[in-house]
């Protein structure tokens, strides 16, 4: 696990009240601070804050995934306006503002998910908006203290203390103090800004042990089965109760499919990029009516295959961080973990020969 091997040099302790100071200092530096805020009873989202009072530390995870900060639900990519004599004025405005953003309190799993997104938005074509937003943002993760029954980060190579893509990982302590682990240059800069309230940790300091998250399956074993079972009744069974709504994908921090649409009146309009998802039947439908993924079974299969087979093959990592959002979001109780444990036991030739029926 990536977070266990901590270099002591990177550890700092922060005194109580550091959060307030951090917000104030960053504000003073003209930085946009985002932090967990209870937006409605029981719901915590990352939102811009002006002071630390708005911040809540009492949350399991934020409802919407972190991806929305870099890859918004909807964003304008082009604006156009008709001009006299049939000409059209096309602008790729507004580009992303350059204001620095510091996100305090993202969860490690959400941040780790950016690794997958980075690969997609930054292979041979570089999505300038995504990259610009990534570049201006410093991610200060808060180590996860309250994984719940749906969490399974450890099964996909993560941990409640995962530092992947985090700039700083913060271990909050009961007394308001915190232990901070710097993971990048941006993180170092953050610590530097907070030098009044943050001190290098005494020698021998060790981060606390992560809370236990049970490893539920092994993605490598699952992949072995997936490699062989593009065609399988299993998919039909899995898909039976799936409603094909997009809730799981929309809330997934690694899902990144999108749509591009124009919205306009007679003289001016915008081209927008919007979240989309592979569960929707129209996603792949051709003009001829032919649909390469004609039924829910093939669409459910795509979701699993993409995350645990195609993405690893193409980009060398699983496209899932085990945050459990999809499981929580699903109103018919579709459970990614059960699907993968079933696959794994099938791979082992286990007794769940009739896995199908345990699922739907």
């Amino acid at each position: 696990m990536r977070s266990t091997n901590v270099d002591e040099q990177t550890l700092y302790t922060a005194q109580a009240g550091w959060l307030k100071s951090a917000v104030d200092i960053l504000q003073g530096a003209g930085v946009d601070v985002m932090a967990p805020v209870e937006t409605e009873p029981g719901v915590v989202e990352l939102a811009t804050v002006k002071s630390s009072e708005a911040v809540t530390l009492d949350y399991q995870n934020v409802r919407l995934p972190l991806k929305r900060l870099f890859f918004p639900i909807t964003e304008v990519v082009l604006e156009f306006k008709s001009q006299p004599e049939g000409d059209v004025d096309v602008q790729s405005e507004p580009l992303v503002s350059e204001t620095e953003v510091v996100v305090l309190g993202a969860r490690p799993c959400g941040v780790a998910a950016l690794e997958a997104l980075d690969k997609v938005f930054h292979w041979d074509y570089d999505d300038v908006r995504y990259s610009a937003r990534r570049a201006r943002t410093t991610l200060i993760s808060f180590a996860c203290t309250r994984p719940d029954a749906q969490c399974f980060c450890t099964s996909v190579g993560g941990s409640p203390h995962n530092t992947t893509q985090s700039d700083v990982l913060v271990y909050l302590e009961e007394n308001g103090q915190a232990l901070m682990q710097v993971c990048s240059d941006k993180g170092a800069k953050f610590i530097e800004q907070l030098r009044d309230v943050v001190k290098p940790a005494p020698a021998g300091t060790q981060p606390p042990a992560p809370p236990e998250v049970k490893e539920k399956f092994d993605p490598a074993k699952a992949k072995a089965w997936l490699d062989e079972h593009f065609e399988s009744d299993f998919w039909t069974e899995v898909a039976l109760k799936c409603l094909g709504c997009g809730a799981c994908s929309y809330l997934c921090p690694t899902c990144h499919c999108f749509d591009i649409v124009d919205e306009a009146n007679w003289q001016a309009g915008q081209r927008r990029r919007n979240w989309d998802c592979c569960s929707h039947p129209m996603f792949t439908r051709h003009a001829s009516g032919h649909n390469p993924r004609p039924d829910q079974a093939s669409r459910c299969r795509q979701r699993i295959m993409h995350k645990f087979k195609y993405f690893p093959e193409r980009f060398g990592q699983v496209a899932c961080v085990g945050c459990g959002r999809c499981v929580r979001a699903c109103c018919v109780g579709q459970n990614l973990v059960s699907i993968l444990t079933d696959i794994e036991s099938k791979a082992k030739g286990g007794d769940k020969a009739d896995v199908a029926s345990t699922l739907n």
């Binding site: 096309v90 930054h122 041979d124 591009i260 792949t284 439908r285 051709h286 795509q302 993409h306």
Partner: protein, 290 residues
């Protein structure tokens, strides 16, 4: 796994902000009731001069306010100063495009995707098999090859459509037919012929079997509806062709054109980047989702 033909993975990052180049429609040709060919010129002549592409590549064309749609570039890379695309009316964007007039400005992004392996074709016999609007991507390649005629050995074109009315590029078909250095065979589905029709009557795979093309040293390029491709391929295998010498293009839906939006994802490939041109032997290894 698949030996993708990707030829444009240069390793250099090309910035992507979805900006389009403005192009002006300079002519519109009615091909069939629902297909038109548009000839487009870059509004900015400099962009036009700098523009290069290979036969088989596609672009994203936009009607402002309606959106973007994917069409292959139907003209030949050897023709410069303009590009052509043939568009079948099927939905929102294509509908709007069909309502455009000469002089209207549209947007273009591209070229994207890989291209036909024209280098590999050098010195070989070429067989082009197309059905319906599938002649559009092939048109580019055929024109390209005819412009460089001496680099190839025998060239044969088999083209079929549902009916005489559904044949596209009628004028060009005639030109090809006139040429001595190209063998042409045109066919329409049974029932689609007219009294004047001089060509064959029968489905493309059937005509192909009758045609008995030689398989040695021949590269085949097939384009058309999925069902036709399937049977043409079977016929070719029957005639002794290896799947590795047959190429085709896929038309999965795509929005970004550059491997991000996820729509054209088939297995671990993206049709927009790893395609749209595929060697048929490689397709076998892919999940059947195209």
């Amino acid at each position: 796994m698949s030996q993708a033909l990707s030829t444009n993975q240069t390793g250099t990052l090309i910035p992507l902000d979805y900006m389009v180049l403005k192009m002006r429609i300079v002519s519109i040709t009615d091909e069939t009731v629902d297909t038109k060919t548009f000839r487009l010129e870059f509004c900015d002549a400099q962009q036009g001069e700098a523009f290069e592409f290979h036969a088989g590549q596609f672009g994203l064309y936009s009607v402002f306010g309606a959106g973007e749609a994917t069409f292959c570039i139907a003209s030949s890379p050897t023709e410069t100063g303009y590009i052509e695309c043939s568009v079948k009316r099927t939905g929102k964007v294509t509908n709007e495009l069909h309502q455009c007039n000469v002089g209207d400005i549209i947007g273009f992004r591209g070229p994207y995707g890989n291209w036909f392996p024209i280098d590999e074709m050098q010195g070989k016999n070429l067989l082009f098999v197309a059905g319906g609007i599938g002649l559009a991507p092939l048109n580019s390649l055929i024109r390209n090859c005819l412009d460089l005629r001496d680099q190839f050995k025998d060239i044969a074109i088999l083209y079929g459509a549902r009916s005489v009315d559904d044949l596209v590029y009628k004028e060009r078909l005639e030109n090809w037919q006139q040429r001595k250095d190209v063998k042409t065979l045109y066919t329409v589905d049974p029932g689609g012929e007219t009294p004047q029709w001089q060509g064959e009557v029968g489905f493309v795979p059937t005509v192909l079997t009758k045609m008995k093309p030689a398989s040695q040293n021949t590269i085949v390029v097939v384009c058309g509806p999925p069902i036709m491709i399937k049977f043409v391929l079977a016929a070719l295998v029957e005639l002794g062709f290896s799947r590795a010498s047959v190429y085709t293009t896929l038309e999965n839906r795509m929005k970004c054109g550059v491997g991000k939006c996820g729509r054209c994802n088939v297995g671990n490939l993206y049709v927009c980047k790893d395609g749209p041109i595929f060697r048929c032997s490689d397709l076998e290894a892919l999940p059947n989702e195209f």
